[in-house]
C-alpha cells in the first residue's frame, strides 16, 4: 500500500511537470500582453525594457521556462502582474477559501441527500419516494447550476428575503450558493445509488442473508449499502473536483470572491504567473483527489488490491 502510494505520487510529479510545460508554452502563444497596449506603446523604449525586465519577460521564452521551473521547485510561483507585488500563492489561497467552503458543503450535502434518496428509492422500488427521486435526478442533471442559482437568488434572497445574497461577509452567505451547487451532485449520487442498490438487492447473497434470518434492516445496513456504495465512490472524484475548484457561474451570480472568477480574470488579463499557479494547483488537486478515491475504493472493496504485495 505505502509503496503503491509513493509510486502514484511520483507519477503525479511527472504529470505535473508535463502539464506545467504545456501550459507555459501555450500561454505564451496567447495573443496580447499583460500590459495595456496603448499605454505600453506610449512609453519610451528604455522604460518599456525596464518594465519587461522587472517582470522577467525580456528573456527568451525557454529561459523564462527554466527560471519558472526553478522557482516552482522552491515553492515560489512568482508575483501577480495585475495584483501588484502580491505573491501568487497568497492570491490563490485567499480566493480558495470561499470556493472550498461552498464546494465542500455542496459535496457533503449532495452525498448525504443523494445517498439517502437513492437508498430509499431502491428499497421502496416503484413507490412515491422512488418517483420523487427520479424527478430530482432528472432535474438535477438537466437544469444547469446557474439557473438553479438564479432561481434561488430571486425567490429565497430577493422575494422572500430569507437569506443574504450578493455579499460575502459571514457563513450565512454561503448557504444559497451551496444549495445551488449541490443540486447536481445530489441528483447524480441519488441516481447512481438507486441503480446500484436495485442491482445489489437482486443478488444471491441478499437472499442468503435473508435465509440466515437477518431482518430487512440488517440486510440493508450490513449487506446492501456497502456493496452498492462501491461504484458511487468512483463518481465521487469528479464530483469533488467539479464542486471544489470553484464554479464560475455560481460564483458570479452570488458575487463570491472565489477561485473560479480569479481564473477567468487572470486569463483575460494575461496574468501569466496566476494562470500558471492556478493550473498547477488544479492539476495537483485533481490528481490527489483521484488518488484518494482509489485508496478509499480499495478500502471498501476487498477485491481491489492496490499492490501485489498483499497477495498470498
Amino acid at each position: 500500500m505505502a509503496r503503491y502510494i509513493v509510486k502514484r505520487l511520483i507519477y503525479i510529479v511527472v504529470t505535473l511537470w508535463v502539464i506545467t510545460t504545456c501550459t507555459f508554452f501555450l500561454m505564451k502563444k496567447l495573443p496580447g500582453t499583460p500590459f495595456d497596449p496603448e499605454r505600453f506603446a506610449s512609453m519610451p523604449q528604455a522604460q518599456q525594457e525596464k518594465v519587461l525586465e522587472m517582470y522577467g519577460l525580456n528573456d527568451p521564452v525557454p529561459v523564462q521556462y527554466v527560471k519558472y521551473l526553478g522557482n516552482m521547485l522552491r515553492g515560489d510561483l512568482g508575483t501577480s502582474f495585475t495584483y501588484v507585488n502580491q505573491p501568487v500563492t497568497g492570491i490563490i489561497t485567499s480566493r480558495l477559501g470561499p470556493s472550498f467552503l461552498i464546494g465542500a458543503q455542496a459535496v457533503l450535502i449532495g452525498l448525504a441527500i443523494g445517498l439517502i434518496l437513492g437508498i430509499l428509492a431502491a428499497w421502496h422500488h416503484n413507490s412515491g419516494i422512488d418517483a420523487i427521486t427520479m424527478i430530482i435526478a432528472v432535474l438535477g442533471v438537466s437544469v444547469p447550476n446557474f439557473v438553479m442559482a438564479a432561481l434561488l437568488q430571486y425567490f429565497v434572497g430577493l422575494k422572500w428575503g430569507i437569506l443574504p445574497i450578493g455579499f460575502w461577509t459571514n457563513w450565512k452567505c454561503s448557504i444559497l450558493p451551496t444549495i445551488a451547487l449541490s443540486f447536481s451532485a445530489t441528483a447524480m449520487v441519488a441516481r447512481f445509488m438507486r441503480t446500484e442498490m436495485l442491482d445489489v438487492l437482486n443478488q444471491d447473497y441478499i437472499v442468503t442473508a435473508k435465509a440466515k434470518g437477518l431482518s430487512q434492516m440488517r440486510i440493508l445496513m450490513f449487506h446492501a449499502i456497502r456493496n452498492s456504495i462501491i461504484p458511487v465512490v468512483t463518481i465521487l472524484g469528479p464530483i469533488v473536483i467539479n464542486l471544489m475548484t470553484g464554479s464560475l457561474a455560481v460564483e458570479s451570480v452570488y458575487s463570491i470572491p472565489g477561485i473560479g472568477s480569479l481564473f477567468v480574470d487572470c486569463i483575460k488579463g494575461n496574468d501569466y504567473p496566476v494562470i500558471m499557479g492556478i493550473t498547477v494547483f488544479y492539476a495537483s488537486f485533481y490528481m490527489l483527489v483521484i488518488l484518494l478515491v482509489d485508496i478509499i475504493y480499495s478500502l471498501i472493496d476487498p477485491r481491489i488490491r492496490l499492490s501485489k504485495e498483499q497477495e498470498d
Binding site: 443478488q203 444471491d204 447473497y205 437472499v207 442468503t208 442473508a209 435473508k210 435465509a211 440466515k212 434470518g213 437477518l214 431482518s215 450490513f222 449487506h223 456497502r226 456493496n227 462501491i230 471498501i300 472493496d301 476487498p302 477485491r303 498470498d312
Partner: protein, 326 residues
Amino acid sequence: MENVLEVKNLVVDIRTQKGIIHAVRDVSFSLRQGETLAVVGESGCGKSMTMKAVMQILPKNARITDGQVLFHGKDLSKYSDRRMEKLRGSDISMIFQDPMTSLNPTMKIGKQIEEVLKLHRKEMTPDERRKRVVELLDLVGISNPETRYGQYPHQLSGGQRQRVDIAMALACDPDVLIADEPTTALDVTIQAQILDLMRELQKKVRTSIIIITHNLGVVANIADRVAVMYGGKIVETGDVRDIFYSPAHEYTKALLDSIPGAGDKERLHPIPGTPPGLMKPPAGCPFAARCRQTMEVCEKFMPDFYDQGTAHRAACWMLDPRAKEA
C-alpha cells in the same frame, strides 16, 4: 418416525405483468427426522419456489395463496416476519445453487458465518463465537480455518465457498437443511466431494435434508426418498429404490430413460416437447402433452395418487385399474 416438516396442499402464485404464474400447484410432502429427501424435476417445475415458500423467502411478487407448511406441527405460513426471522438460519436453513454469488463479496467469510451465531445464539461471547466459526470451518473440511476466517470470498475456490455456505447453514444445528441444487455450479470432482461432505455431516448432526436437483446421479448418491415434480405438481414420491427400480409415473420413466449409461454408444434419449407454461396450466396431467401413453382422460382430469406399495405413490391414469380396459 416424527415428521419434522410437513407441507400440505401448498399453492404459490407469482404475479407478473403478463398474468399470474401458478408456480406451485397443490404440493404436499413430508420430511422425517434425519432423512434426506430429494426433490427432482426440470427447470421451472416449481422445486425452488416450493422451498422458498417453506423458508418464506419468496420474491416480492410471489405469494403463498393456499396450503400449510407445518414445522414440528406449527403452521409457518401463519408466522409473522419476526417469528420467521428467528426460525430462519437457526431451525431451518438453506444453501444455494451458485457459491460464487451467494456470499457477500465485501465481508470476511468468518464474519458471514458469525453473523448467524450473533443473531440466533445471543448468549455466546465474541470469543466463543469465533471459536465456533473456526470449528465449523474445520468441520466442513476447510484447511487452515484460522487464516480462512479472515479471508474474503474471492480468495476461495468455488468448492470452498460452497463449504462455507454449508458451514453457515449448519452453524446453529438446524432441524432442516434445504439445499437448492448445491452442486450444479461446481465441477464434477468437487460435486462428489460436496455430496460426500453432506452425507457425512448428516450422520454427525442428524439434520434432515431436502436436496433440490435435476441430477439423478446426485439423487442416487444421497437421497433416502424422492419426490418427482412436474409442472408445479408432485407426480410421484417414493423411496429411492422404488423410484429407480420401479418407477410408476410416465414422466419418471422417461426421466430415467434419458440418463446416458456408461459406454452407451447410442444417442441420448431426450423427452420430446417442452414443459407446460404455468400461466395457463393444463387441466389434466401436466405431462399429458409429452407422454408416450396419453389417453383422453389425461388431458381433461388430473389423476389422483395411486399407492404403489408402502410410501410409494404416483399420480398417473395408467395406474388406475380402469386403464387396462382402455
